[in-house]
C-alpha cells in the first residue's frame, strides 16, 4: 500500500486545522492548533506513554478475551440447537442494554483497576465477533456439507475442517469491527472511574483546562486504535488468502 495518499490527507487536515485556529483566533483553551498539541505531547511524553501503556493493555486484553469468548459462543451456537434457542435471545437482549450504562456498575463490582475496563471492552467486543462468526458458520456452502455427509464425515471433523475455515473471512469482519470498538470500551471504563489510562488523563486534562494535553492524548489513542485495526486486518488477510479475488480488488 502506498503511503502517499494517507500522508497527503493527514497533512491537508493538519494545515486546515492550523488555518482555522489562526483565522478564527479561538483561544488555545477552546481549540489548540496542531503545533500547540504537538508541543504539549512532546513535553508530556512520559506521562502519555505511561497512561497509553495502561490503556493499551486494557484494549489488548479486552480484544483477546472478547474475541475468544465471541468465537467460542459462535461455535456453541452453531453446534447445538438448544443453545441457539436459549442463548441467542439472551445475547441479543444483552446488547439491547446500553453498555455505557453498565460502566458504573462494573466499576462498583470490579474496582477501579484493570479488571473493570477489560470487562467493559469484552462486553462491547464479543457480540460483533459472535454475530459475524456465527453468520459465517451458518452460511457454509451447502454443497460442501452434503459432500462431507456422503463421505460419512464425523460432525466435529466437518466443523473443524470445513465450517471453521470457510467462515474465517466472516470472523475477520467481526474482528475488524471489534478492533475498532475496543478502545471505546476501555476509555469509557476509565471515564467512569479509574486511576490511570488515557481516558483518565483526558478527563483530568479537561478539568484543568489543559486542552492541548487532552488533544495529545486523543491523538495517541487514535494512533493506537489505528495500528490495532491495521494489525488485525493484516493477520486476517494472511489467513484468508484463498478468498475470491473480487474481495482483494475491492479493497
Amino acid at each position: 500500500m502506498s503511503l502517499f495518499r494517507p500522508a497527503v490527507t493527514a497533512v491537508g487536515l493538519l494545515c486546515s486545522w492550523q488555518l482555522v485556529v489562526w483565522l478564527s483566533g479561538v483561544p488555545p483553551f477552546i481549540l489548540p492548533g496542531p503545533l500547540t498539541v504537538a508541543l504539549a505531547g512532546w513535553r508530556n511524553l512520559h506521562l502519555l506513554a505511561e497512561h497509553a501503556a495502561t490503556t493499551g493493555l486494557e484494549i489488548v486484553l479486552g480484544l483477546l478475551i472478547g474475541s475468544l469468548i465471541g468465537a467460542l459462543a459462535a461455535l456453541v451456537l452453531v453446534s447445538s440447537a438448544p443453545a441457539r434457542r436459549w442463548l441467542l435471545p439472551v445475547l441479543v437482549i444483552s446488547q439491547a442494554l446500553p453498555v455505557f450504562a453498565l460502566a458504573p456498575l462494573l466499576v462498583l463490582w470490579l474496582g477501579y483497576g484493570l479488571l473493570s475496563k477489560v470487562a467493559m471492552a469484552v462486553l462491547i467486543i464479543f457480540f460483533p465477533v459472535t454475530l459475524a462468526f456465527f453468520d459465517g458458520l451458518r452460511r457454509t456452502e451447502r454443497g460442501w456439507l452434503e459432500l462431507a455427509r456422503v463421505m460419512d464425515a464425523p460432525p466435529l471433523a466437518v466443523l473443524r475442517q470445513i465450517r471453521v475455515p470457510a467462515s474465517l473471512p466472516a470472523l475477520g469482519s467481526g474482528l475488524r469491527v471489534a478492533a475498532a470498538v475496543a478502545p471505546i470500551g476501555a476509555v469509557v471504563g476509565e471515564w467512569v472511574g479509574s486511576s490511570g489510562g488515557l481516558g483518565y488523563l483526558m478527563l483530568h486534562a479537561n478539568a484543568r483546562m489543559q486542552v492541548d494535553l487532552l488533544f495529545a492524548a486523543l491523538v495517541v489513542l487514535s494512533a493506537m486504535a489505528l495500528s490495532l485495526w491495521w494489525l488485525v486486518d493484516r493477520v486476517m488477510t494472511r489467513f484468508n488468502r484463498w478468498q475470491p479475488a473480487s474481495y482483494q480488488t475491492n479493497r
Binding site: 460442501w144 452434503e146 455427509r149 463421505m151 464425523p154
Partner: protein
Amino acid sequence: MQISQAPPVVRSPEEPPRLLGPEVEVEVPHLVYGGRPVFQDLRLRLPAGKWTCLLGPSGVGKTSLLRLIAGLEAGAVVRPDPGRLVGKIALMAQQDLLLPWLNVRDNVLLGHRLRGRSRDAMKVLAAEADALLARVGLAGKGDASPLVFSGGMRQRVALARTLIEHRPVVLMDEPFSALDAVTRHRLQDLAAELLADRTVLLVTHHPLEAIRLGHRIWVMAGNPAKLRGPIEPSGPTPRDPADPGAIRLQSDLMKELLASAELVETQ
C-alpha cells in the same frame, strides 16, 4: 491440456481390487415439493456394476431422485437400506465443490482427511492421490491451489476425489455439463474406464453422454414424474459417437425426449 491415454501408473499390489458395485433400488411412494406432487409410486433399479443414465427436462426431479438415493433427502425407500449403504456411496456434483483453502492433493484426499486416518495410511493415500492426479492429466499439480485452475481442471480434481473414495456406488449429477466438448469427451472416457464394474447413476441432459456411457438409459418426464424406457445400448463403453448404432440411438432418444417434453406441455 493432456489427459493420458495409456495408464502411466503400474497397478501396485496394495491397490485395492476392482470394486463390484451392488444392485441398488429406490422406491418413492409419494413425494410432494411446494404443494406439487413430484413422484408417485416411482421405482428405479440400478443394476449391479452397470451405469444407469437418467435423462429428462430440467426441474423434473432427476437431481431429487439422486439425492434421495444419497440419503441427502428423506421420503424414499432405498434398498439395500441406508444403514448398509453408509460408506458405500460417492457423490460427484455439477459443481466441483473444491475447498479453496486446501491444495489440490488435500482436496482429493478430503474424504479420508475428514474421516481421520493414521499418518501412515495418509502417506499411502497421498501417493495414490498423486497417481490419480496423473491419471486425470494433472501430474505434478498436487501442491497447486485449485484457485488457479480452469473449470475443466477443477472438475478433473473432483473426479480424482470421487475415485479415491473407493466406493462401489457412484452417484453423478451432471458432472461434465459445465465443460467444453473436448474436455467432456476425455473425462467421459476416463470415468468409464476408472468406474467400470461400479454401480453408477449418471444424471445428465446430454443424450450423447448417456449413449456413450450408459448400459441402461431412462427418460424421466411428467408431473408426477414417470420413467420411460429403458433404452439399453449394446457394446462396451465408452462408445464411439460416430458409430451408426449410436447415431440411431441418439435420434431415438431425442424422439423420446421430445415426446416427454410434449407430455409435460400438454398437462
